[in-house]
Subunit: 211 residues, 2 copies
DNA sequence: TGTACATCAGTGAACGCGCGTTCACTGATGTAC
DNA sequence: TGTACATCAGTGAACGCGCGTTCACTGATGTAC
């Protein structure tokens, strides 16, 4: 980790924008999305309190950049897990669900910047489209699943995608966050989500090819 | 609304504790759980900044009281909707889902104090048990639903209750919050949740008696 | 290759502000007799 | 019924603090010639 202040550097930081985003992540992870200030991010990055203004209009813009970065990482993680539905859609979907929870658990700072910090999702077009791209992975998975249903009885893929999103997000934010303060369960969140999705798929009438 | 400062009053407020909780709600609703301060709550209630210390140790304790109150209201709303499973468990469950979303939509301040504001759910025993009582309504509903399944094929009620909670919470926090900043949908959140729960119940193998 | 200069990232000092918290106090309420 | 007194909710002034934001500045980088 080369973002903290102990690295020697010259007058110019070199990559302050990046460093501030990392500082924000670190601070959000440590103290929650609420307790993180512009000045503190500057201090963490080892620059004067005026320096961040060269890169972000204000705290909100920095927060939006964190959320944007988060959506990009999130999309990458989900796409990697989905792996274009290999070897089949059901196995891949299970990986997708696990990856969703894994992201929420290991990257709580990103996750709360994306979904909880009150960043206006619709306002910033870049942020919106990054969110859309992440959702597109779920959407693609839903389409593949729906295509396995008998013709005539195919559920609408968009609806299925939204349902899967709601199940994953609900499970993640109620039970699967990395930052403690959560309910304890007699079962791991990943298993809870997996069972839930299996029941749901059976209800949809698509057949899992798994044993 | 008799909690704001314009009401004349004597030296003693009479019900400052209550007024501060209402002030907190109002401010959370207006500016989010993050942007609400102890001093502002005092100002809103029309008392000096030192007065709240007679009733709450600090901002966190006030926040926890808001969450506690929220869980009580939430439990009442859910219990009212469930109405002990009348006329049958499936009709009552649909009402329950609608009531869940309705609460999240119309009481976003309570909802975020309960689930998002970082109030340590496990720490305060009163808070924890209020949360448990609210969950017990879902749990009871799940038991009634599971009882309609053929013996031998009954799913575990606790799991079903957690699944329903995750679906409702996921739908509410992604799509159904009253404070804007949310994704827009081609379908109302309540319908989305209803469809999701119906698919899920079919997957469980319990039969809806509805047409 | 060297020099002059434009650009711009980061400085550091300064400011006003509102917050959290404390303190000795004041005035209302209720209770003992 | 009236008086004395204990209790305690709320006052208001005060404090130190960190934040957000501005400003004229300084020093590093890179480019034109």
């Amino acid at each position: 980790m080369s973002w903290s202040r102990d690295e020697p550097r010259g007058y110019h930081h070199g990559n302050l924008r990046e460093a501030l985003i990392h500082a924000a992540l670190e601070l959000i992870a440590k103290k929650g999305a609420a307790g993180f200030t512009f000045a503190e991010a500057a201090r963490f990055a080892g620059v004067s309190p005026a320096a961040p203004y060269r890169h972000f209009r204000d705290r909100d813009e920095l927060m939006a950049s964190v959320a944007l970065r988060g959506f990009e990482q999130f999309e990458a993680a989900l796409a990697r897990a989905w792996d274009d539905g290999r070897p089949d859609a059901f196995v891949a979907l299970e990986r997708l669900g696990k990856a969703y929870l894994e992201f929420a658990r290991t990257q709580p700072a990103y996750y709360s910047a994306m979904f909880e910090a009150g960043v206006p999702a619709g306002a910033d077009p870049a942020l919106r489209s990054a969110g859309d791209r992440a959702f597109a992975v779920l959407r693609g998975a839903a389409e593949r699943l729906c295509a396995t249903a008998p013709p005539g009885g195919r559920p609408p893929a968009l609806m299925v995608a939204l349902h899967i999103w709601a199940m994953a997000h609900g499970t993640a934010s109620l039970f699967g966050r990395g930052d403690g303060a959560q309910r304890t369960l007699p079962i791991a969140p990943a298993e809870l989500l997996e069972a839930q999705v299996l029941v749901y798929l059976r209800g949809l009438g698509v057949r899992a090819t798994r044993t």
